[in-house]
Amino acid sequence: MSAINITNVSVLDNPAPFVSPFQFEISYECLTSLQDDLEWKLVYVGSAEDETYDQTLESVLVGPVNVGNYRFVLQADPPDPSKIQEEDIIGVTVLLLTCSYMGQEFLRVGYYVNNDYEDEQLREEPPTKVLLDKVQRNILSDKPRVTKFPINFHPEDEQTPAAADPPPPPTEQSDDQQQADDNCDEAQVLPEQPPIPHES
């Protein structure tokens, strides 16, 4: 059972120009308090063939981690185009949003990203030299791939750290659950809501 469950990720400012910063509004719930901060990372996959082209766009610590529902906006700079091979800029690639606790990754949300010219004519006949300021970035935010890895959130409690184990097969999750969560939240925003018991 994970101590942290992601409840929603909204991709803000999408689609956007290639050179504009990324913005994700991330909502998560915490079931047990954690001593250390959570580390959220945004990784841009520069090339499908080679991991060395991966760029970590941003890495932030989020905390303190207390029981409850939280949200925050993760903002990250756009990828450095000089570190991407020219031919890989245009086309479909992947953006990874990962969350780890004490160096152990337990959550990974993957998005497909499509970079293309906004201009019809440029799309038909792409110029030899990539015109970065004309490239539009579109994150396919409605099709996230959520992968969860079981990790040990309280290493001091148990003597055998789970990180030593080989990572079990990841459990793929469709975004249906997220949708359902969305709906729950919406219901609470309604003005005509009956009393919700406040356990204090």
Binding site: S10, L12, D13, Q23, E25, S27, D37, E58, S59, V60, L61, V62, G63, P64, N66, V67, G68, N69, Y70, R71, F72, V73, L74, Q75, D182, N183, D185, E186, A187, Q188, V189, L190, P191, E192, Q193, P194, P195, I196, P197, H198, E199, S200
Partner: protein, 877 residues
């Protein structure tokens, strides 16, 4: 439609399209533990711990029958009493009956609603019954088979009965067994024992009707699959419909409340759209009033635009607009997070807590403020957001409290943050004389060296002006008076006024400064010894020192020349410094007596959190209980605008749900609720609707007193919706009449005698517009009040016709047509309230008028029939 049974003795009926509670069924005397719909749609049945089953009509939500029966002798309690309605609509099987010596599931028959027979045999109370969604009939083949197998002891006698369709029902009990019965046989078809280690709690049939799922308290789920030869052959849906039609007539024709006029339908669509659009609108509001620029501030404008686009799109698309409309609105709430760099250079975000009590958040921040150096910046901003949730960032007042940096236990640190502004007023020894002493509590008492700092943003001199800071630093000069017995110290305070680091002026005054206030016009400095010094912008002492008699504890000023001061003894002053006039002099003592529960703690003392000028310019006092009081200058008395008198009101939690404060009143209300949430014990009070109404009414009046037009509109809407739901015609009529004004014929006559003149505007919004745009669409949510609605529709259009005729020479009157609402609503809500009030929406005018005449034409036919009817119903009108 969704029905929910609740521990508050009620059943709520929800509209699934809008998510709004359609009605509340009150009648059970104890916890309601099961509810079921009539497959025909005419009734709903609920079973409760009060040992009764109530059948409700769905047409008008009245009680059709209350049945007392075999449940009376039932012993003990169960978690659930999940009764079920047969798919043929004829039987209701209830749970938890007891007929000596056996537990039973009594069956009620439609029409009489009396017990016809019982399912007997379980050794413990029956928790759940579930009818199969389909009916079954025996195929000739399986009937023969059964005879051979010798199962069908009861039914085989009557061969003709075999061809009758029958129901299949599963019963789960606390004795850990499940039985499956058919209504064609007096014995169970199937008994499942030893499946579970504990009580069965719920059963469910698969849509195809041949699988049964059962779950138990022991944490397991069982799935039982049946063969067609066991249950029989399932009737197709068409056959089932046919059966129902034969027995009950065509279901489709029997809609309870038929629409009587096309305008009703029109308004109904508007009201559903309103429900969707409303929230997005309030979010836009929230965007505008956020005082803290969050990380995504620069994109707010862009987002708002896209949101409005989305909104338009969803408005165009009819049907379930709700889910779409609310997705963008949820996203666009500005996230209230705090970002800073750690010493090692890494970025750290303190996330915004969603849906948890606020104090958790507080503790979190304090924790961090104890551990990390950037605390002072975080702490004052917390104070800011708490005390000035709605000030449109014209002035920002920060109080730097050095205590926060000290190594203090966490609890104390929190007390400092939230209660640093608390003063305690205790009657002195001579309490009988009415002299009140004000004693300062924890936060201020301990800190002898205290810096005060305020910043004033002067927007008049251009956008880029740096804030002007006024700082008061206590300077203690130890007098080296040799030979004197005690070393005395002179307490002096240095006042420094700076603009971006540059000193504008400075002054020194004797005594310790307790309060500072300022705006672009003047500065005011209050001292411990009860003096008040007023400076001009450039630091000239514009008046001789004013003597207040006791130390000033709260001070506030508006943007022009108004200054508010509360002294330790509880006197309250409001001055107009420009005209050098005292506008108001009163005492807080009247709040002492009104607050009885507090005086029980400390006799005759009040704790005050803040005193300030409300946006409308009246003094607003918030006590430690978070009760807020507003001084009404025309009534010359205090009005309680926020309190906790209505804990059981359905709406008491509604303010809390918007994560950003959306208005002055809402801010106060949320504070009250946060405070209440901190108190242990949530007592469950059954709400009978009266309290909710009283709460809404008082909120409505409070928002009027606070002169907060947006909230006024919101409260009005909630109130009218509530009245419409309860079909409270007399109150609705009163509200509508107050917004309609005197009859048209008399209006001209009334203008001559001015003693009782009707004001067509409220808080700068035209009353007719409110009536047309908000009240009438809200009323359309319940068709029971449609007569009233159409009556006022007619009256209103009459008014507007005469108005148009009158205004033909004047400027174009701002008439808004109801059908134009979707577009005009967006516009209205995205504009600040002041603009809404004054700008007529001329863009839509042409279209509206034409549409309006359309309605009139369509309606004219029905009007003729309506008229005599109306006069009968309401002879007074």
């Amino acid at each position: 439609m969704l029905a929910s049974a609740s521990l508050d003795n009620t059943v709520h009926i929800w509209n699934m399209r809008t998510g709004i509670c359609t009605t509340v069924l009150r009648g059970h005397l104890s916890l309601v533990k099961g509810v079921t719909w009539d497959p025909i749609g005419s009734f709903i049945a609920s079973q409760s711990d009060d040992k009764t089953v109530i059948i409700w009509r769905t047409s008008d939500w009245s009680m059709a029958h209350r049945t007392v029966g075999h449940w009376e002798k039932s012993l003990g309690t169960t978690f659930f009493r999940r009764l079920g309605w047969s798919p043929c609509g004829h039987f209701i099987t209830t749970t938890h009956g007891y007929q000596k010596p056996r537990h039973s599931a009594p069956v009620l028959e439609r029409g009489e609603w009396s017990e016809s027979f019982d399912f007997l045999g379980h050794n413990a109370p029956i928790i759940v019954v579930k009818f199969n969604h389909s009916m079954f009939k025996r195929s000739t083949f399986s009937a023969q088979e059964m005879k051979r197998a010798g199962w069908s002891n009861g039914s085989s006698k009557s061969g003709g009965k075999d061809l009758q369709p029958y129901n299949v029902i599963a019963i789960g009990s606390q004795d850990r067994t499940i039985t499956v019965w058919t209504t064609a046989s007096p014995r169970p078809l199937f008994v499942a024992k030893h499946f579970f280690g504990q009580s069965v709690v719920d059963l469910s049939w698969s849509p195809d009707g041949y699988s049964l799922f059962a779950c138990s308290l022991d944490g397991t789920v069982a799935m039982i699959h049946f063969e067609p030869k066991e249950l029989g052959v399932r009737l197709t849906d068409a056959e089932l419909d046919e059966l129902k039609k034969n027995r009950y007539g065509d279901v489709r024709g029997r809609q309870a409340n038929l629409v009587e006029s096309p305008a009703q339908l029109l308004l109904e669509t508007v009201s559903t759209k309103l429900a969707g659009g409303k929230r997005a609108a309030s979010d836009v509001q929230a965007n505008q009033v956020t005082t803290k620029p969050s990380a995504n501030a620069e994109s707010t404008a862009k987002k708002r635009k896209s949101q409005v686009d989305d909104q338009n799109k969803t408005d165009e698309a009819s049907g379930d607009t709700l889910s779409k409309a609310s997705t963008p609105s949820r996203v666009s709430n500005p996230v209230n997070q705090k970002v800073y760099r750690r010493p090692d250079g890494r970025k750290r975000i303190i996330p915004e807590a969603v849906g948890v009590p606020q104090q958790d958040n507080n503790i979190a921040i304090n924790e961090h403020s104890n551990n990390f150096p950037p605390a002072p910046s975080a702490a004052p901003s917390k104070i800011n957001s708490r005390d000035f949730p709605v000030e449109p960032s014209i002035k920002e007042i920060a109080i730097r409290n050095p205590d926060l940096n000290n190594e203090r236990p966490r609890i104390t640190a929190r007390a400092t943050i939230s209660e640093s502004l608390v003063i305690e007023k205790v009657p002195g020894a001579s309490a009988r004389d009415g002299v009140l002493n004000v004693e300062q509590s924890v936060g201020i008492k301990g800190s002898s060296s205290r810096d005060l700092l305020i910043r004033v943003f002067d927007w008049k001199q251009g956008e880029a002006t740096a804030p002007v800071c006024l700082e008061a630093c206590p300077k203690e000069h130890a007098l080296d008076t040799v030979g004197v017995v005690s070393t005395s110290t002179i307490k002096e305070t240095e006042l420094v006024c700076k603009i971006s680091g540059e000193t504008l002026w400075s002054d020194r005054i004797m005594g310790r400064v307790t309060v500072l206030a300022g705006n672009p016009n003047f500065w005011a400095v209050g001292c411990e010894d009860g003096t008040l010094q007023v400076y001009t912008k450039c630091g000239r002492r514009v008046m001789p020192t004013m003597m207040m008699g006791s130390a000033a504890t709260f001070i506030d000023c508006d943007d022009s020349w108004k200054l508010l001061l509360v002294t330790r003894k509880g006197s309250l002053y409001v001055w107009d410094l420009f005209n050098r006039k005292c506008i108001l002099h009163d005492s807080l003592s009247s709040l002492v007596s009104s607050d009885t529960d507090l005086s029980s703690a400390v006799e005759g003392s009040i704790k005050v959190i803040s005193v300030k000028l409300s946006k409308s310019g009246s003094p607003l006092v918030v006590l430690a209980t978070r009760h807020a009081f507003l001084f009404d200058t025309s009534l010359m008395c205090w009005l309680r605008v926020a309190d906790d008198c209505f804990p059981a009101s359905n709406f008491s939690s509604s303010w809390n749900l918007g994560s950003a404060p959306c208005g002055e009143l809402a801010g106060l209300q949320v504070d009250v609720r946060k405070y209440m949430a901190r108190k242990p014990g949530w007592n469950r009070i059954a709400d009978d609707g009266v309290q909710t109404r009283a709460h809404l009414e008082s909120q409505f009046a409070s928002s009027l007193a606070l002169e907060s037009p947006n909230e006024y509109r919101q409260c009005l809407l909630a109130y009218v919706r509530f009245l419409a739901r309860e079909a409270d015609e007399s109150r609705l009529r009163e509200v509508c009449e107050s917004f309609l004004g005197p009859p048209t014929g008399m209006a001209e006559a009334a203008t001559s005698d001015t003693n009782l003149c009707w004001d067509p505007y409220v808080l700068g919004v035209k009353k007719h517009k409110l009536l047309r745009n908000d009240i009438l669409p809200a009323m359309a949510s319940n068709r029971k009040v449609q007569r009233l609605l159409s009556e006022f529709m007619d009256l209103l259009s009459e008014y507007e016709n005469t108005e148009l005729a009158e205004a033909a020479t004047k400027e174009s009157a701002p008439t808004i047509d109801c059908s134009g609402v979707p577009s005009s609503l967006d516009q209205m809500d995205s504009d600040p309230p002041a603009v809404t009030a004054t700008t007529p929406l001329t863009i839509d005018n042409d279209k509206q008028v034409s549409l309006e005449t359309g309605i009139m034409c369509e309606k004219s036919g029905s009007e003729a029939q309506e008229r005599p009817d109306q006069s009968l119903r309401d002879p007074g009108a």
